[in-house]
Symmetry: C2
Subunit: 213 residues, 2 copies
Amino acid sequence: MRIGELSRRAGVPVPTTKYYLREGLLPAGERMHANQVSYADEHVQRLRLIRTMVEVGRFPIATVREVLGELDSGERDLDGLLGVLSRTIAAEQADRVRHSSDDTGLRAAQELTGRHGLPDDPAIPYLREIADVLTAFESLGQADLAARIADTYAEAAKQVAAVDIEAISGLDRENTAVAMITGTVLGEALFAALRRLAQAQLSIRTFSDRGDS
Amino acid sequence: MRIGELSRRAGVPVPTTKYYLREGLLPAGERMHANQVSYADEHVQRLRLIRTMVEVGRFPIATVREVLGELDSGERDLDGLLGVLSRTIAAEQADRVRHSSDDTGLRAAQELTGRHGLPDDPAIPYLREIADVLTAFESLGQADLAARIADTYAEAAKQVAAVDIEAISGLDRENTAVAMITGTVLGEALFAALRRLAQAQLSIRTFSDRGDS
């Protein structure tokens, strides 16, 4: 297929597709004539994957390149890919929350994760993230709110993570890698939408007849 | 306190604080002398709330204004605030996923939500969001992955939503409103960090000894 069809099928504008080609994120197509390059179904899949990371996951282009490099390396195990995905997401998250948590926040995070059998080593970036979020709740005067929701969140997160990992184990390497990227980026969007749908259903029941209390 | 201390305590740079003052998001301080304006603790709280919506929630300034307007209106019930929060998040999410789902995606979303006692009316924006995410999985060749995780996600989302609503009901109006904003924005970050911590714990067990399969 020509670049126009490739772009249309992946839902990416032609100039953006050309940019990904120039940046080497998308492999070059096969040159048929002086002015004609042909792309295959693999290009459509790859372009959709790039689009998911950029638009839904908001990964910087450098990270997309790193993730695709791990995906294509073929010779390594999946730790490299997991590592890149983890670092990217931790960095993006840290950038958003950016409340430097103090020892109190860190202790609260450790108590929470320890209580649910989750790792409580402060060297793990995700633990620091949890501490930052708890500190942010506290700084908004909402420490009680965090305390009321945190245990249910931890248990629900464990169920979700267990099915995440189970769903991608047993696939071959290529599929595991693509499933890992998809699950990381789209899984979060799916859970968030389901949570909000359930909230909307419950809040109509809870608040709609409270009036101006 | 002076604007420097206000900014420092809320973790917002002075020029940004001045911008929020000019935009009317932050009420003016009390003028003490010709060159001195004094701010109170309420300003710190308000500024932290603005910062959370802008930095963590990535709300556009116009939306922050609308949310704060609902918060300050005092005379309305909470539906207005819920409505603004819902529309904002739905719009931001739609902007990120932007896969126009077809009837197949919508039917898949309805089957999923119906199976779990969640609303399945296509007029609800969140249902369309779920359809879009399922369509995005499908377009990446990962429909099987979505099928394997979706039911667990729906049940976990219901648990999380139930504690979200329960935790903020019974508060007075002002606190319910602030808790709603905080829970909407920071609750998502908390769940995501917990999910990734649990994933990391499990994936080390599952993948670290697979080697280059």
